[in-house]
Symmetry: C3
Subunit: 261 residues, 3 copies
């Protein structure tokens, strides 16, 4: 794993998550809830999954970050996402948005944009296709997969960052993290990560944990992607297939020591 | 594993899934979403889980197959299932229905029949109890478990196939695949598969992947059940319990080579 | 593992679950459904997950126990929980309530109390914070984590048991099981269990399985917590992190023999 931020900054970020154990409020999709919760626990954060519109105000009030992931949308969940997003925005709580499948259907692209416009996410993380679809609505992705490389999408990410004020993260072979002017990169990981469902969603959840304790969103997002990449490399060396990859990945997150960096 | 279709046909089916990477649209239950998605990724297909009625038309338009599984039903999900099923039916996209728990409650039996009548599934896959309950509504199953053997249900499957025009798959110690006149079988697998939640649902998802790329539904369904059986046998040889069985099963699917057949 | 109940009683309880294979109806949260189902299968019970208000009457009629877990609440699910709880209460079917996150938001505390008042659960299982929040609504917990030790909460548990007529279980380093006058304990388990999401929810599901076949709720709940503790210790000895812990835990449940007690 190679990244733009210093080893000291990465170590400090990991230490902060462990020391503070931030509560990360996730409104995420059904497919990944278990893995996202376990990944957050593995790095020392405290996950809560809750989407009921009636409790969004109170839940947001105790959370260190809000993660919104639109992977399995419907009308009722959008209401919860907006209620939580507005409450978090009002409080200045960091919001991380994962526009899963933006471009796959026009409803997803529109929902992602409604959340961006009304809740002002601090960080937006997607794959290349999703980020490009948010900038150019003519692009149609195939489901939730990325057909674009992360590099292709970097220009789109810069435009999106400047337009929205969010730090934009594109995950791929090389991860790009940009605020529209500066660009951080993370290289590493392993191709088998793309055969495990919800790895992108997990990275979004980890971005939430780091955003809760690291003031600079560029640094928070880069640290999270670096941790994903490092744990992914180590897990891939042990995995026999995508089943064991999912388990080894959690184990490697759990075993990650600051001294390893 | 022993099956009715030729080794060449099975190899060709597996190669087609890998080569084409079909997008499989799943409206399935909360319990199995993660495993179904990982199983589809393991064989080289591309899963999307989406149920929002507003996006069913567009999602169906980009999918190679639609899988509807009624395991954790409610009114809102039934609306999504019908919208997707009608759109897929109109387009000629293969539809695979898993009538989970048919017979356990009259609402499940009725919902399965509403989906059958209105959406005309290409393939229906269930256990013996579920298939028998669809034919004879007096049969009550105990929850989602099969209390009937797959052989007992074969006559019911033939009746259901002739009545609906669907290929009907009964999974069990021996799997039966019938269009009402011809019968394919798959022997193999391992009893520990019944101790892993959602193995039936996973097989339905794989049937969807094969149905997207193999024109003959009898052959598609048989290939999927054969792959389940083969991966199940191999995983069972490595498993210490139902936890590791779930993981080894995904790994074995992932490692399956055409040369293994 | 050390517990208040006799080895003979524990062995008999495990044997009863295996022999009777009770159907356990779970209305539980999205995060843990897969693990709860696999844990129930591992000990020989038969899980069904169903929440649709229309089928609650029929589903409850065939179940040996009902488990209600409020981890990912919303209005529609509360309706299903109440419908199932009222039907089970009328039939005398044991009800186990897991008030996940009580105290984290006032809506969760209120929902837990509505379920208690209207459905009269046989057993309530929570962590220390949750049980204390049910007794003293001024206590606010941080999300779904326990910030109180289980011993601190024992007095609250006794009050709750006497007020509601339910057996109350507090899980923690030492588990306490009380009907307000008598107290059982279970010592054992391992700290890494707290890093696996939904271990508490899994224990609630197992309490449901034992409550379906053991007449005395004190004994049923204690047996379930003892089994959790034993499998947890054994799994922890094999685990490399929280990922493999989740898998080894299921394997150890699956491998548990009465002779091991």
């Amino acid at each position: 794993m190679k990244t733009s931020i210093s080893q000291a900054a990465l170590r400090a970020a990991i230490a902060s998550v462990r020391a503070q154990g931030p509560l990360v409020h996730n409104i995420t999709n059904y497919v990944v809830m278990n893995n996202s919760a376990n990944a957050l626990l593995a790095i020392g954060a405290s996950p809560v999954m809750a989407h009921w519109v009636d409790e969004m105000e109170e839940m947001t009030a105790i959370a260190g970050a809000l993660v919104i992931n639109i992977g399995t949308l419907d009308t009722q969940w959008i209401e919860g996402m907006l209620a939580a997003g507005l409450a978090a925005s009002r409080r200045g709580t960091p919001i991380v948005l994962d526009p899963v499948g933006a471009g796959a259907t026009s409803q997803r692209t529109a929902t992602a944009w409604e959340l961006i416009r009304r809740c002002h996410p601090t960080i937006i993380r997607g794959n290349g296709s999703e980020i490009m679809a948010l900038v150019n609505s003519d692009i149609r992705s195939k489901g939730v997969d990325s057909s674009a490389t992360s590099h292709d999408a970097l220009e789109a990410a810069k435009i999106l960052a400047l337009e929205t004020g969010a730090v934009v993260v594109i995950s791929g072979e090389t991860d790009y993290i940009t605020n529209g002017t500066r660009v951080h990169t993370v290289e590493g990981g392993h191709p088998i990560m793309t055969a495990v469902t919800g790895m992108g969603c997990t990275s979004t959840a980890l971005v939430g944990a780091f955003a809760a304790v690291v003031a600079d969103p560029m640094e928070a997002a880069t640290a999270a992607m670096a941790v994903m990449s490092l744990a992914g490399e180590r897990a891939a060396a042990l995995a026999r297939g995508n089943g064991s990859m999912q388990i080894h990945f959690l184990d490697e997150l759990y075993r990650l020591k600051e001294a390893d960096i």
